[in-house]
C-alpha cells in the first residue's frame, strides 16, 4: 500500500501541470496565461520544418497510442519532394480498454494538443490537418470545437498564422464507434467515409495515406508532448526517464486499486511504484493477482513482475508491452477465465471481419472461453486455444488478431492451473468471487 515517498512522487508534471491550477477550464486565454503557445511563435520564426523534425527525433519521443514508434522518425518518412498534399491526422479514437488519458487531454487541455498539431503540421508541410475524435466523446468534441474556434479567432489557425506565412486548416471529424478505427489505416479509411477496415502495409501512410497522399497519424498524447520538446529542447526531454523511452507518460490506472486515475510519470517508474505508491494499492485487504500493463491487448503480468520498469523495452522483455499505458489491476477475487471471456468478447465484437483468421478466430476464442466460464470446458480446449492463438498471430492485415490472441496466451501461461481447475470442476474454483 502506501510506502515511503520516492522521488517519483514529486515528478514535475508537464502534460498535466494544468491540474494544479484551481478552476482551470482549458480556454485559450488560460492556456496562454499559464505558458502555452510559447513554442509555436518561436518555432515559426526561428526554425525550418526539417529542424523541427530533427529536434523531435533527437528528443526520442515515442508514440503514445500503443505502438511506441519513434515520432520524429515517422515524420521524416514523409517524402519532401512529393507534389501531393501532405496530411496530419490526429488519432483521438482512444478505445483500448483500460485507457482514458486521451479523453482527459481532449476535455481538459485541448490547446496543448492543438499547439502540437500546428507544430507537427509545420514540420511535415501539412496545410490541412484532421482531428479524428472518437464518436462517443460528445463532450470532448464540443471542447475541441470551442478550442478550434478560439485558435482561428486569434490567428493561430487559418491563413498566415502569426504572420509567419504558414497556413493551416484543422478539421474536426467525429468517429462513430469502432475500436478498429484506432488503427492508423482503419482510421484513414473511416476518415475517407468508408468502413474502418485497415489497409495492407506497405504502402505505409507516409507514402500513401489519406486520399493516397503522404500522411502522418499521431496520437493525442504524442502531439501534446511536442510543444514542450520544442520549447525546452530535445536534450531536456531526452533526459526524462529511460534513455530509450524518454519523456512523461500518462498511465491510466484502473481496476482493483484505491485511487484509480491518470498518472503522469516518467517511464522509469516500476509497476510496483505505480500501483502501490501512486494508485494507493489494492483495497479491501486483497492481494494482487494479475495486472495488464498496457491496455487489454497487452499480455498479463503477475506479482512476479512488479519490479519491471514501465518503459516499452522493459515491458517487452518481461513478455508484455507498453501499449497504451493503461494499467488494469486485478486482485485475488478475480477469475482469470472470466477475464479471458470478457477480453475475448471485446475482440470478437470489434474485429472488422476482413481477414479470415481474425473474423473467425476472435469469435471462436470467445465462444470457447464463454463455454469454459460456464462450466462446459473440455480438457483439450486449453491446447486448442493456444493453437488457435498461434494461427491468429502475424498473418493478418492488421494486429487486432494478434491483440486478441496474445492476452489469452498469457492468461494460459501464467494461470494454467486455474484454467485446468475451472475445466475439471466445471465451475469457477474461486471460493468467493467478487465481481459485479
Amino acid at each position: 500500500m502506501t510506502c515511503g515517498v520516492s522521488e517519483l512522487m514529486t515528478f514535475d508534471k508537464i502534460l498535466t501541470r494544468y491540474q494544479d491550477i484551481p478552476g482551470y477550464a482549458g480556454t485559450m486565454e488560460e492556456y496562454i496565461a499559464h505558458g502555452g503557445y510559447r513554442a509555436l511563435p518561436q518555432v515559426l520564426k526561428n526554425m525550418q520544418p526539417a529542424e523541427v523534425i530533427e529536434a523531435v527525433k533527437r528528443s526520442g519521443l515515442r508514440g503514445r497510442g500503443g505502438a511506441g514508434f519513434p515520432c520524429g522518425l515517422k515524420w521524416s518518412f514523409i517524402p519532401k519532394d512529393s507534389t501531393k498534399p501532405k496530411y496530419l491526422v490526429v488519432n483521438g479514437d482512444e478505445s483500448e480498454p483500460g485507457t482514458f488519458k486521451d479523453r482527459m487531454l481532449i476535455e481538459e487541455e485541448p490547446h496543448q494538443i492543438l499547439e502540437g498539431v500546428i507544430l507537427a503540421s509545420y514540420a511535415i508541410g501539412c496545410r490541412q490537418a484532421f482531428l479524428y475524435c472518437r464518436g462517443e466523446f460528445a463532450h470532448g468534441a464540443r471542447v475541441l470545437r470551442r478550442a478550434l474556434d478560439e485558435a482561428y479567432a486569434r490567428g493561430y489557425l487559418g491563413q498566415n498564422i502569426l504572420g509567419s506565412g504558414f497556413d493551416l486548416e484543422v478539421i474536426l471529424h467525429r468517429g462513430a464507434g469502432a475500436y478498429i478505427c484506432g488503427e492508423e489505416t482503419g482510421l484513414l479509411e473511416s476518415l475517407e467515409g468508408k468502413r474502418g477496415q485497415p489497409r495492407p502495409k506497405p504502402p505505409f501512410p507516409a507514402i500513401s495515406g489519406l486520399y493516397r497522399c503522404p500522411t502522418v497519424v499521431n496520437n493525442v498524447e504524442t502531439l501534446s508532448n511536442v510543444p514542450h520538446i520544442l520549447l525546452r529542447g530535445p536534450e531536456w526531454y531526452a533526459a526524462i526517464g529511460p534513455v530509450k523511452s524518454p519523456g512523461p507518460r500518462l498511465f491510466s490506472v484502473s481496476g482493483h486499486v484505491a485511487r484509480p486515475g491518470n498518472y503522469e510519470l516518467p517511464m522509469s517508474v516500476t509497476l510496483r511504484e505505480l500501483i502501490f505508491e501512486h494508485a494507493g494499492g489494492i483495497p479491501n485487504g486483497r492481494r494482487l493477482k494479475a495486472v495488464i500493463p498496457g491496455g487489454s491487448s497487452a499480455p498479463v503480468l503477475t506479482d512476479q513482475h512488479l519490479d519491471v520498469a514501465m518503459d516499452f523495452d522493459s515491458l517487452a522483455a518481461a513478455g508484455s508491452m507498453g501499449g497504451s499505458g493503461a494499467v488494469i489491476v486485478m486482485d485475488d477475487s478475480t477469475c482469470m477465465v472470466r477475464v479471458g471471456e470478457i477480453v475475448s468478447r471485446f475482440y470478437h465484437h470489434e474485429s472488422c471481419g476482413q481477414c479470415t483468421q481474425c473474423r473467425e478466430g476472435t469469435a471462436w476464442l470467445h465462444k470457447v472461453l464463454r463455454r469454459m466460464e460456464h462450466g462446459q470446458g473440455r480438457k483439450q480446449d486449453l491446447d486448442l486455444l493456444l493453437d488457435m492463438c498461434d494461427n491468429m498471430k502475424g498473418k493478418t492485415i492488421c494486429v487486432l488478431s494478434d491483440a486478441a490472441a496474445m492476452p489469452i496466451e498469457s492468461y494460459l501461461k501464467h494461470f494454467r492451473d486455474e484454467f485446468e481447475r475451472h475445466v475439471r470442476e466445471r465451475a469457477c474454483p474461486l471460493a468467493e468471487r467478487v465481481e459485479g
Binding site: 471481419g353 479470415t356 483468421q357 486448442l384 502475424g394 493478418t396
Partner: protein, 542 residues
C-alpha cells in the same frame, strides 16, 4: 522483367507483376479466394500467403510485387500450417451443404480443403446461422451461410457494371453480404457473380439443382450468338434419358473480346434450343396449309421450282436474303450457290439498320452491342451483298410485290416482323416460290411454300466474325434434333439436284477456297483456319 524463384523453379516475368500472377504464368498454383485478375485487390482472405526469403512474416502473394531475385516458397511446413489454419477458420461456420449445393464437385473450398485443409473439425461450437436460398434478383439466389466473405461479388457490382447493389453489412463474424432492402440484383451482368463466387453462396436460378459437374459432358467452346461482340463461352451439356440438354453457358476468358465476363441475356438465353415448338421437320405448302414432309422431298420440290422459274423468267427473278446469324462458312456457301451457281445478283443480309458499319455501336459501357446478331461483319466481309445491278432487301421486297421477283429464299430472318414499314406480307404472298429456313414457325414461315428447320448455334460448327473483325470459332455441343440440318447441307442438296457441285462443305474445307479469294480473308486458308485457337484471329488490316 523480374526473375524470381518459386519453389526452386525460375520464373521470368514480362512486366511488373505480383507473386501470385508470376506463379500463375508458370503454372504454379497458389490457392486464393478474394483475388481475381479482373477486380481490385483486397488481400483479405489470407489463403495466398507464401514464404518469401528475408521477409519475417508470410506475404500475401496477391498483392506483393514480384521482385528480381526474390525466393518464394509455397509449400513449406510454415505455409502449409498457415493455409490449413485459414481453411479451418473458414469451415468453422460453413454449413455441410455439399450434398445439396450446386458447387459440389467444382468447388475451390472443397478442393483446397481436400488438398490443404484439416481432415477433422476441432470445433464443438454452434455455427452462425444465416439466411439461406434468398432470391436476390431475376437470376441469382444467395445463401449467406455458405458465404466466405471474399467480397468478389460486392466488388464486381461496384467495379464492372458499377451498379453497387451488394454490400457487406455489420462487421466481424456478424458480417453479411446482402442487398439494400427493397432492391434487386438486376444489373445486366448479374450472372457473373455466380462464376466469381468460390463457393455455392451465389447460384443461378436457371442452373440450380440441374446437374453435378461430372454429369456434364465435355465442355464445348463456342461464341455467344446474341450480339456482335461474340463473347467467348463454354457450353455445358448433360445427357439425360430424354436426350441431350444444354444446361449452362459460362464465359471464357478473352481479354480482347469480353475479358472474363458475359451479359445475362447471353448467359441465360438458351432454353429455346430445347423448346418443343421448334421446327423439327421440313414443311411444304399444300393448298392453304402447310404439312410436314421429308426434307428430301421438300428439297426436290424446291429444286424443281427453281429450275422452272429460272427457265421461264431468268436468273434475275430469284433473290436471297440470308442472315447475319449464319456462320462464315454457311454464308460463303450461300454466296457460292446464289451468285456463282444460280447467277443472280440479288443477295443481301441487311434487315436492320444496326447492321451497317456505322449502325452497330456499344449498347452499354461494357459488352453489349446494338447489333443483336453474331455475324454482320462476316456477312459484310464475305460480300453477302447485292451486285452492282442487284437488289438489296427493300428492293427485293418491292420487286416481289410488283411481280418482278418470282422466287425468294429467306434464311433465318423474320421479314414480316423486322420490316413493319414495308409491304412484306403482300410481297411474299405474290411470290411463286418462297423458301424460308427458321428455328421456329413465325409470321414469315407461314407464308412459305417450303419451310426448312434450322440449326441453333450450339448445333453447328464454324465461325463468326465479331464487330472487331475477329474470326471466332464455334463448335457443336448438341446433336441437331429431328430433321434440322445446316444450310450447307441444304444448299449442297439443292445444287446437286440442279446439276451442280457445291464443293466441299465442311467448315475447314470451305476456308481453303475463302482464303484464295480477294477480300478481307484472303490468305486465311485451311491451315491458317485450323490454327485459330480459343482466342480467335484478327486478320491484319481488320
Amino acid at each position: 522483367m523480374p526473375t524470381l524463384k518459386i519453389n526452386g523453379v525460375e520464373v521470368v516475368t514480362s512486366r511488373a507483376t505480383t507473386i501470385l500472377e508470376a506463379a500463375r504464368s508458370a503454372g504454379i498454383e497458389i490457392p486464393h479466394y478474394c483475388y481475381h485478375p479482373g477486380l481490385s485487390i483486397v488481400g483479405q482472405c489470407r489463403m495466398c500467403q507464401v514464404e518469401v526469403e528475408k521477409m519475417p512474416k508470410l506475404a500475401t502473394a496477391c498483392n506483393t510485387p514480384a521482385a528480381d531475385g526474390m525466393v518464394v516458397v509455397t509449400n513449406s511446413p510454415r505455409v502449409e500450417k498457415a493455409r490449413r489454419a485459414v481453411l479451418e477458420f473458414y469451415l468453422l461456420n460453413h454449413p455441410l451443404d455439399c450434398p445439396v449445393c450446386d458447387r459440389g464437385g467444382e468447388c475451390p473450398l472443397q478442393d483446397y480443403t481436400l488438398k490443404y485443409g484439416p481432415g477433422e473439425s476441432r470445433s464443438v461450437e454452434e455455427k452462425v446461422h444465416r439466411m439461406k436460398h434468398r432470391v436476390l434478383g431475376p437470376h441469382i439466389v444467395f445463401d449467406a451461410e455458405r458465404c466466405i466473405l471474399c467480397t468478389r461479388c460486392v466488388r464486381f457490382c461496384q467495379e464492372i457494371p458499377k451498379t453497387g447493389e451488394l454490400g457487406v453489412f455489420a462487421r466481424g463474424d456478424q458480417s453479411e453480404i446482402n442487398l439494400f432492402p427493397g432492391r434487386d440484383l438486376d444489373n445486366a451482368y448479374s450472372g457473373n457473380v455466380v462464376d466469381l463466387c468460390p463457393v455455392g453462396a451465389l447460384t443461378s436460378r436457371e442452373y440450380r439443382f440441374q446437374s453435378r459437374p461430372w454429369d456434364l459432358v465435355r465442355p464445348t467452346q463456342s461464341v455467344c450468338p446474341l450480339c456482335s461482340r461474340g463473347c467467348n463461352v463454354v457450353l455445358d451439356v448433360r445427357h439425360r434419358q430424354t436426350g441431350e440438354e444444354l444446361l449452362r453457358i459460362r464465359p471464357r476468358e478473352n481479354q480482347a473480346v469480353n475479358r472474363w465476363w458475359m451479359c445475362d441475356e447471353g448467359r441465360f438465353t438458351f432454353a429455346y434450343l430445347h423448346d418443343p415448338h421448334r421446327l423439327r421437320s421440313a414443311l411444304a405448302r399444300e393448298g392453304e396449309s402447310q404439312t410436314e414432309m421429308g426434307l428430301d422431298d421438300v428439297l426436290a420440290r424446291v429444286a424443281a421450282d427453281v429450275g422452272r422459274i429460272v427457265q421461264e423468267h431468268g436468273q434475275g427473278s430469284i433473290g436471297c436474303i440470308a442472315s447475319s446469324r449464319h456462320t462464315n462458312e454457311e454464308l460463303f456457301l450461300v454466296r457460292r450457290f446464289f451468285r456463282d451457281i444460280l447467277r443472280t445478283p440479288h443477295l443481301d443480309h441487311r434487315v436492320r439498320p444496326v447492321q451497317g458499319p456505322e449502325g452497330d455501336t456499344s449498347e452499354d459501357a461494357l459488352l453489349r452491342r446494338t447489333d443483336k446478331t453474331a455475324n454482320s461483319r462476316g456477312a459484310r466481309d464475305l460480300a453477302i451483298l447485292p451486285d452492282r445491278d442487284g437488289m438489296d432487301t427493300p428492293g427485293m421486297i418491292a420487286a416481289a410485290r410488283e411481280g418482278r421477283l418470282k422466287a425468294l429464299f429467306v434464311f433465318e430472318e423474320e421479314l414480316v416482323r423486322e420490316l413493319p414499314d414495308l409491304p412484306v406480307r403482300e410481297a411474299l404472298g405474290r411470290l411463286d416460290l418462297l423458301v424460308v429456313s427458321s428455328m421456329f414457325p413465325n409470321d414469315t414461315t407461314v407464308l412459305a411454300h417450303a419451310v426448312l428447320p434450322a440449326l441453333g448455334f450450339a448445333e453447328k460448327a464454324g465461325s463468326f466474325t465479331n464487330f472487331q473483325g475477329r474470326i471466332q470459332k464455334i463448335h457443336r455441343a448438341l446433336t441437331p434434333p429431328g430433321a434440322c440440318c445446316s444450310l450447307a447441307d441444304v444448299l449442297r442438296e439443292l445444287a446437286r439436284r440442279l446439276g451442280w457441285d457445291l464443293g466441299d462443305i465442311e467448315p475447314e474445307r470451305v476456308w481453303a477456297t475463302i482464303g484464295e479469294q480477294p477480300g478481307p480473308y484472303q490468305g486465311i486458308g485451311w491451315t491458317e483456319w485450323k490454327a485459330i485457337g480459343p482466342e480467335g484471329l484478327l486478320p491484319p488490316g481488320a
